[in-house]
C-alpha cells in the first residue's frame, strides 16, 4: 500500500546574517535530510526540543517555505513536479492548525468568515461557503448561531482552537498537520480538543501529522512517532517501540525527563545536561554526541544513518545500533 504522505531527504538551511561584513555566509541547518512516511488513517507524532526543526518540517510540507532539497509524494503522486500534484491541489488535500489560536485568526473577520475563506478561494460561492462554515462550526462543537458571527477576541482559547480546526477542515483535506495545536491550551481544554481531534479523525477518515513537545500527548494520540534532534530524525517507530523500547540515547533521555505521577520514583540526576549545540555549526558526526553519555571516537567521525533495527518499522540513527559501526557498545 502506498503511504498517504512520503517524504525523502527533506532539507532546509536558513541563511543567517553574519556579524561582520565579509564573514562567510552561515547557515542554520533547520531540517537536514529528514525522511518519513505516513499511512492513510494513522497519526504520526513528531517530538523534539524547541528548535529541533519540528515546525519547519510542517511549514516545508505545506510549502509555506520552499525546501532546499527533498521529494514529497502525496497519495503516490509527486508534489510540485511536471505531471505531479499542483500547489493548489496539495493545499486542498493538506491543511494545518497553528499553535497560536489568536494569531492564526484574522481579528477583523467573524470566525465563520475565516472558516469560509478557504472554500471561497477555491471557487465555492459565498452563501454556500458560509453554510459550509456553519456546518463545520457545529462539527467542532460550537453552535453556529451563537459563535458564527463572533470575532476571535470574543472567544476563549479552546473555542478559538476549535475554530482553527474547523478552518483546517473547510477544504475537506485528507491530511491535517497539527503544529503544537493543543500546546497553548489549559490542560482541561487541551483534553477536550484532543478528544475532538480523535473523534474528527475517525468520522472524517483523516490522517494527522501531530507535532508537539509534549511526550504524553504524543503518546496518547499517535500511532507512530518520529523523534527529532537538531534538524535530524534520530529515531522513528511505532508508539509502543518508541515509548517502551527506546533505542536512541536521546529518546531514552527525553522519556526519562517526563514528570511521573508516582511519588516513589525520584529523579536523582537530570537525564540530559547542557543545551543543544548551535545549529549554525552542528558538530560533525552524530549531532547528539556532545551530550551523549556513550559518545566514542566513531561518533565524531561518522554520521549515523537511520537504520532499521529488528523486523518492525523501528529505526534509529545511533552507532550503537548500526552493525559494524565500530562502537564498542554495539548491541
Amino acid at each position: 500500500m502506498t503511504p498517504l504522505l512520503s517524504v525523502r531527504g527533506l532539507r532546509k538551511y536558513f541563511p543567517v546574517k553574519s556579524e561582520r561584513f565579509f564573514a562567510p555566509r552561515q547557515m542554520v541547518q533547520a531540517v537536514d535530510d529528514v525522511s518519513f512516511s505516513i499511512e492513510a488513517g494513522e497519526t504520526l507524532g513528531i517530538v523534539g526540543e524547541s528548535g529541533c526543526g519540528k515546525s519547519t518540517t510542517a511549514r516545508l510540507l505545506m510549502r509555506l517555505i520552499a525546501p532546499d532539497a527533498g521529494e514529497v509524494d502525496f497519495a503516490g503522486r509527486p508534489v510540485l513536479t511536471e505531471d505531479g500534484l499542483s500547489l493548489r491541489d496539495l493545499r486542498r488535500n493538506m491543511q494545518m492548525v497553528f499553535q497560536d489560536s489568536y494569531a492564526s485568526l484574522n481579528p477583523r473577520l467573524a470566525v465563520q468568515g475565516s472558516i469560509a475563506f478557504g472554500p471561497r478561494a477555491h471557487g465555492v460561492p459565498g452563501p454556500k461557503a458560509t453554510a459550509k462554515a456553519r456546518e463545520l462550526l457545529s462539527l467542532v462543537g460550537l453552535d453556529p448561531d451563537q459563535f458564527g458571527r463572533r470575532y476571535p477576541h470574543e472567544l476563549s482559547g479552546g473555542q478559538r482552537q476549535r475554530v482553527n480546526v474547523a478552518r483546517a477542515l473547510a477544504l475537506d483535506p485528507r491530511l491535517v498537520i497539527l503544529d503544537e495545536a493543543v500546546s497553548a491550551l489549559d490542560k482541561s481544554i487541551e483534553a477536550q480538543v484532543l478528544n475532538l481531534l480523535m473523534d474528527l479523525k475517525a468520522r472524517l477518515q483523516l490522517t494527522y501529522l501531530f507535532i508537539s513537545h509534549d511526550l504524553n500527548v504524543v503518546q496518547y494520540i499517535s500511532d507512530h512517532v518520529l523523534v527529532m534532534y537538531l534538524g535530524k530524525a534520530v529515531e522513528v517507530g511505532s508508539v509502543e517501540d518508541i515509548y517502551h523500547r527506546p533505542r536512541h540515547p536521546y529518546t531514552q533521555a527525553l522519556l526519562a525527563s517526563r514528570p511521573t505521577m508516582d511519588p516513589e520514583v525520584k529523579l536523582e540526576r537530570s537525564p540530559l545536561t547542557g543545551d543543544p549545540p548551535n545549529p549554525i555549526n552542528p558538530p560533525p558526526g552524530c549531532r547528539f554526541r556532545t551530550r551523549c553519555a556513550f559518545a566514542e571516537d566513531v561518533c565524531g567521525r561518522v554520521e549515523p544513518a537511520l537504520t532499521s533495527c529488528g523486523a518492525t518499522e523501528h529505526a534509529v540513527a545511533c552507532h550503537m545500533h548500526v552493525p559494524d559501526s565500530g562502537h564498542s557498545r554495539r548491541q
Partner: protein, 310 residues
C-alpha cells in the same frame, strides 16, 4: 462563604464549558454585525470625537454652502470701513485691511483651506498606500527598492520640501496641492509598508496562504482590513499638517494669491495690521487651529475606537 460569592464561582464554571444560554448577550446590547459598525458605534459614543466631528461638519458645511448663505461678497473692498472691530454692525467679525467682511472671507476661505487639507492627503493615501501595501506584501528586493526611494524624499524636512517643490513649479493653488501631495507620499508609504510587513508575518496570513488562496484575495480579505485602520488614523493627522503647510505656502506667496480668500493668505495680509486690530488678525489663525485640532482629536478617537480588544 456568603451567597454572592458562591454565585460568582458557579458563573466561572459556566464560562469554561459553554452550555447553551450560558454566554447570552445582556439584554439591550446589540451585537454589531461588522467591524466598521462596531467602530462607528464607539466613535459616536466618544464625546470629544463627536464634538470635533460636529465642529468640522459645521465649518465644512458652511464652506460648501457659502455662496448661498447670503454673505457679503468676500472680495468687495470698502476703503471707508477698513479694520472695523469684531462685533461691528453689519460686519459680525469686523473687516480686514481692505474693508472686506471677515466672516464672509473666513467661511469662503474654508473652501480652499479644507480642500488643501483633505485633497493632498487623499491622493497621497491612494499612491503611497498602494506602494506601501505592495512593498510590504512582496517584501525582499521590491520592498528595498520602494523604501529606499521614499527615503530619498524623506531626507528633507516636509515644509522645506513643499516650499522647494512649489517654488520650482511656480505659485498657484494647483502647484501647492501637487507639492503637498508629493511631500505626503513617503510618510504614508512608510507607515503602510511597516504595518503591512507586520500583518503579513502573522499566522492568519500564513493560514490563508496555506488554504491555497491567491495573493490578491489574501490582500483583499486579510491584509487590507488590518492595515487600513492605523494608516487611516495616520492620514487624519496629516490632514491637519496639510492645512498648516498649505497655509504656510500661501503665507509666503506660493499658494493661493490675492484676492482669493484662504486662511493662510489672510493671515499673511492681516499681519501688518496686528497692532491696529489684533483680534481681526488672529481670526484666520484661529480657524486653522480649530480645524487641525479637530482632525487631530478625531484621529485619536479613531485610534481607540479601532482597537477591537479594548
Amino acid at each position: 462563604m456568603n451567597a454572592p460569592e458562591a454565585q460568582r464561582i458557579t458563573l466561572k464554571f459556566d464560562a469554561l464549558t459553554p452550555a447553551p444560554g450560558a454566554m447570552e448577550v445582556p439584554v439591550g446590547v446589540m451585537l454589531p454585525r461588522t467591524y466598521w459598525q462596531t467602530v462607528g458605534v464607539r466613535l459616536a459614543r466618544d464625546p470629544y470625537t463627536a464634538a470635533c466631528a460636529f465642529i468640522l461638519l459645521a465649518i465644512a458645511g458652511a464652506a460648501v454652502l457659502a455662496p448661498w448663505l447670503g454673505l457679503p461678497d468676500p472680495a468687495a473692498t470698502n476703503a471707508a470701513q477698513r479694520l472695523l472691530p469684531v462685533g461691528s454692525s453689519g460686519h459680525l467679525l469686523g473687516t480686514d485691511e481692505l474693508g472686506r467682511d471677515m466672516l464672509s472671507r473666513l467661511i469662503h476661505g474654508g473652501r480652499l483651506s479644507l480642500t488643501m487639507g483633505v485633497l493632498p492627503v487623499a491622493v497621497a493615501l491612494a499612491i503611497g498606500g498602494t506602494l506601501g501595501l505592495v512593498a510590504g506584501f512582496i517584501g525582499g528586493r521590491t520592498n528595498m527598492l520602494v523604501m529606499r526611494l521614499t527615503d530619498v524624499l524623506y531626507a528633507f524636512p516636509s515644509i522645506l520640501l513643499a516650499v522647494a517643490i512649489a517654488g520650482s513649479l511656480g505659485a498657484g493653488v494647483g502647484n501647492a496641492l501637487l507639492a503637498i501631495t508629493i511631500v505626503f507620499i513617503p510618510p504614508i508609504t512608510r507607515v503602510t509598508e511597516s504595518v503591512t510587513t507586520q500583518v503579513r508575518a502573522m499566522d492568519f496570513v500564513e493560514a490563508a496562504r496555506a488554504s491555497g488562496a491567491g495573493a490578491f484575495r489574501i490582500i483583499r480579505t486579510h491584509i487590507l482590513g488590518n492595515v487600513m485602520g492605523p494608516v487611516f488614523v495616520y492620514a487624519t493627522v496629516l490632514v491637519s499638517v496639510s492645512i498648516l503647510i498649505s497655509a504656510g505656502l500661501s503665507f509666503i506667496g506660493l499658494g493661493a494669491s490675492p484676492p482669493t480668500a484662504e486662511w493662510g493668505l489672510m493671515l499673511n495680509t492681516l499681519r501688518e495690521s496686528i497692532f491696529l486690530a489684533p483680534l481681526n488678525a488672529v481670526l484666520p489663525g484661529f480657524m486653522i487651529f480649530i480645524t487641525s485640532m479637530c482632525f487631530n482629536l478625531i484621529s485619536d478617537g479613531l485610534r481607540s475606537a479601532m482597537d477591537v480588544r479594548l
